[in-house]
């Protein structure tokens, strides 16, 4: 059975963010900005979309008077990412 792909994860920045977060137990905004090679504004929008769908949780704090944003993947996010990955594999086999 071929399920439709999760539209939220077809965006490259959101997919990269989820790929990183699935490997780590916590990650800060600056690292995500560096790895996705995106602007602060764009990344913020994508993170907000993921958080609104409860795929990730965002924690804001202050460190040495500087704001710090930390992101974690949620259980729903892990499940969605796993499903998306499995579906991609199925579709890739179909492409071949």
């Amino acid at each position: 059975m071929f399920e439709p792909l999760d539209k939220l994860l077809t965006n490259p920045i959101r997919l990269m963010v989820m790929s990183v977060l699935v490997k780590v137990s916590g990650c800060d905004f600056n690292y995500l900005k560096k790895i996705t090679n995106s602007t602060q504004g764009n990344l913020s929008i994508q993170l907000k979309k993921l958080a609104e769908n409860e795929y990730i949780s965002i924690t804001k704090s202050f460190e040495n008077n500087y704001p710090k944003t930390k992101c974690n993947i949620t259980k729903k996010g892990i499940l969605a990412f796993e499903n998306h990955f499995k579906n991609l594999k199925k579709y890739q086999n179909l492409d071949l």
């Binding site: 990183v20 490997k23 780590v24 890739q92």
Partner: protein, 189 residues
């Protein structure tokens, strides 16, 4: 993006977020050198270290506590610089935090029981080293952990053996050598 591109992107992101064990190896090297030197200083200058009833206790408590503070600050700074914490990194952090607390408890218990805590601490250290080694899948650390447990057993079986020398050997073989090989290992950098 087509399906292959998405899979490549996932692969790239995961590969870029590597398990960085070089900072971890610095901890092993630091503690290996510190404990080996402390044991040798105590062994070579017992009249100085055991000058008063509590001087050796102070020597073996104050310096390691300073070492603990230094390593905690170093690990926090490294974590901030890296920007992420992997699941293995978190597990290692928790395991060694438990070791720190258990080490303090063992010292206090040994003080009240008027016993030498070296064999208990070495056994605990060996177990924690083995857990760490299995988590990061690093053979020299497995060997180091086994050697440290063997040193603890040796102290139990030979009560007249010099515990300071055994402690120095255990710290060198169990912490310094695996730490250095982890630092020089290209697989985990």
């Amino acid at each position: 993006m087509n399906h292959s591109e998405q899979l490549n992107l996932i692969n790239d992101a995961i590969n870029k977020t590597k398990e960085q064990l070089k900072p971890t190896s610095v901890n092993f090297i630091f503690w290996g050198i510190l404990i080996t030197l402390m044991s040798l200083i105590h062994y070579l200058f017992p009249e100085f270290i055991q000058k008063t009833t509590y001087s050796s206790l102070i020597f073996w408590t104050i310096i390691p506590v300073i070492g603990m503070v230094l390593t905690i600050v170093y690990n926090i700074k490294t974590g901030i610089r890296m920007g992420y914490e992997t699941h293995i990194g978190r597990a290692l952090k928790l395991v060694w935090s438990v070791f720190n607390v258990a080490w303090i408890v063992l010292i206090i218990m040994a003080f009240f029981k008027k016993q030498n805590p070296v064999q208990d601490i070495l056994f605990l250290l060996g177990v924690i080293l083995l857990i760490s080694a299995l988590l990061i899948r690093f053979k020299p650390l497995i060997i180091g952990g086994i050697c440290v447990i063997a040193c603890s057993v040796l102290i139990t079986l030979s009560p007249h053996i010099n515990t300071l020398l055994i402690n120095a050997i255990a710290a060198f073989v169990g912490l310094f050598v695996p730490g250095l090989s982890l630092y020089l290992s290209k697989k985990h950098v």
